[in-house]
Amino acid sequence: MNFPILSSITLLPILGAIFIIIFNNKTNENKNVIYVSLFTSVVTLFLAIFLWYVFDKSSSEFQFVEEKKWISGYIKFKFGIDGISILFIVLTAFITPICIISCVNSVKNRLKEFLIAILVLESFMIGVFCSLDLVIFYLFFEAGLIPMFLIIGIWGGPKRVYAAFKFFLFTLLGSVLMLVAIISIYWITGTTDVTEIFSKKIPAEYQYVLWLAFFSSFAVKMPMWPVHTWLPDAHVEAPTAGSVILAAILLKMAGYGFLRFSIGMFPVASEYFVPLVFTLSIIAIIYTSLVALMQEDMKKLIAYSSVAHMGFVTLGIFTFTKQGIEGSIFQMLSHGLISAALFLCVGVVYDRMHSRLISSYGGLVNILPKYSLVFAIFMLGAIGLPGTSGFVGEILVLLGAFQKNFLVAILASIGVILGAAYMLWLYKRVIFGKLEKKELNELKDLNLSEGAILFLLAGLTLFLGFYPNLILDTIHVSVDRLINDYQMNLILNTVK
């Protein structure tokens, strides 16, 4: 197939955004803008699903590869996907229409600009998962900062300026070191094409420093303890749609980066730094769970729970076992659905009450039965109850971890219990109990669009919990290749 389908998927949302800019009518007809952006993102979703459908699941090669000259003589423009990246593209394309529908209820001013920012961001995010060249990857990885900075800063809460600056500067600081590493790789291997680097192999003595430079960027983005502090601020201040994208997709770029770049390019260093990653992951799982227990702000609680869940992801990736890596990919995707849904749930009551404090709610089950139902499903999914998608990811990661290090696995399991504690307690305080606050009596249950989104997400969470093969089938071959390459490289290096 010669049609550049990956570039089209990447460019499509931006084209939609340009369309909105050019055909901007002065009457401020918001409806048209919503329809155009929704249309664009739904078409992107269909394209992504089509791509998933035609994707050859039995091949471990990169597919739909596009290659063009870009910076003459230095860097090629290279796109391509394997079993891992296709799922993240589908996730991105799936979450964006949901954000667009959800923001219709919550964003009151400058809706048009908001939708433009979301669409541009979608393009950049898809670009991250498509790129097979380090420079192109860096380009998209960093470019996403611009729309996200604006989303937090313009439509955010009262402390939005602080949160936006913290988000931007933290991430930028982490990434500039990655840029130095990328350029160094260029001078060491003579290329920035990922597949060529895989085959050329970077000399072991360089790997440690380069790995750390990449790690600094991904750890901030992931976020790993102790550089996670930007995330609660950003989540709390961002508008609902911004939080959803941040939790569901932006955090996944780092996990994807670890899988694609850190492991593939620096196997020796990855093996060497396993204790570091394990320690940080365990601290993230246990410490941030404890912190989440004490939060009074619902969004902050979910934000800390994200950090804990991402701890599972890094733990799983660095076990280098099939179960561990597949588990962490599954965990990322399921967290993408569940955390997005949880933020949407908070958004639902926030739009009505304009408060995110747990203490201002209580007894919602009496007046919001539908809301309580979906919230329960997502809450249980976040805990990792069997039957939800959260369970599959966590159990696989723990299976991987037990093979590698018993103590780590035990500690991670404790994290699961803590996770249950804070989520159940949150649910108890918000939903159960008597309805004591009079102002809550006025609340209306989910409206059509909210109900549609949340029930769709709840259905998917349960479906993936019962039928995880939908995802696992796609990644098996690619993960096998990843692990084989990794072990081959390690053996080759010890032989030398």
Partner: protein
Amino acid sequence: MENISFFLPEIFLAVSILMTLMIGVFLKNSYVLVTSIIYGIIITLILIILNSFDNSFKLFSDSFVSNPFTNFFKILILIGTFFILIITQNFIKETKINYFEYSLVLLLSVLGMFIMVSANDLILFYLGLELQSLSLYILASLDRDNLKSNEAGLKYFILSSLASGLLLYGCSILYGFSGSTNFEIIRLNTNTENIGTIFAMVFILVGLAFKVSAVPFHMWTPDVYEGAPSSVTSFFAVVPKIAGVAVFIRFMQIPFSEITEQWQPILIFISLASMILGAVAAIGQSNIKRLIAYSSIGHIGFVLAGISTSTNLGYSSSIAYISVYVVMNLGMFACVFSMKRQGKYCENLNDLSGISKHHPILSISLLVILFSLAGIPPLAGFFAKFYIFIAVIESKMYTLAIIGLLSTVISAFYYLRIIKIIYFEDTNKSFDQTKNLGISTTLFLSSLILVTFFLYPSFLNTIIETLIVY
């Protein structure tokens, strides 16, 4: 005699300046006429230079060179001047400093820069430099009834003369120790054994660093930028920098190419200091012109980082950087000249507060330009920095690369602060709605180039690659 055609741009420029001067002197209120003639002159000059772009030639017993490298810089200078004249036209009229001398002296300094860029001889170089500098002194104090403008002119004059003096002293030592004023002969006689030439190199570097306002010779920049009329500031921030960088590269490439190890540490220090100071000192500024001054110091730091590698890749990355810098700063100044409230031009950053509601197009362009200045991909500013760091890391100067990149994070802070003022603040102020074709075209072109640069970045590379083959 046919060689003279390679000298044609300079002859044409000099003759037309004198002719236009006559028009200005004999006709009253001739600002508009003179300026429109000058547009014509600039366009003709660009065409003349383009016509013989690829020819390399040396004239007047090798004291004057004309090759793609100098032609590229001349065209860049002309484009810069052209757009500066366009965007400043309204400002000049409205602040009542529309003397015809403004455009003419501007052009005169351009002539000086032409000679500077093409000079292959110390004496010719110094002549060009002084012609340029003297014109700039006059320009700085153009607003002659304004105390600040006078102060700026005087300050610039005194400090710059000092720097020129040091530079001239360096030139004389260089002549003494190498026996010639010709760049190529100097190169043959300049080496580590010839200590005097190293001495001279330091003095010349001081003078050049002053002209491009690199730390620690930057002190004049914020004051002069703030004091001079905005129209002149915009010229200062763009055009002399181009010529300065060209001369820097020529000096490093030809006379001092044998003593690389001697000037490299100096240049690395200057470059690091400029990057850091440019990033840190700009944070506290509230005046947009002072802020641009510090930001330009930081950008010069990056250009010098490219030059300090002393490789062809480094030189071409510096050329790419200065080209992108020109585009960004032209756009930035086009924004500055749209900041007008009740007939008065604003210079305070807080005046931008909340303008995104009333001026969506101006604010989105400013957004693009500021993110590009901060070096965030996928805008052109990122590629400029990227090329510089490719060259720097090729030469294994990791410290320079890491500190440089960290300073971009610091400088991102103050660019973001402006964006915060424009977009995140909720005040209900607006500027006068002015429909100025020149300003809006410049703004549009500049942001368009910055945004679409990533689609075809080879465009700039392929041009620059042909220049640097010396």
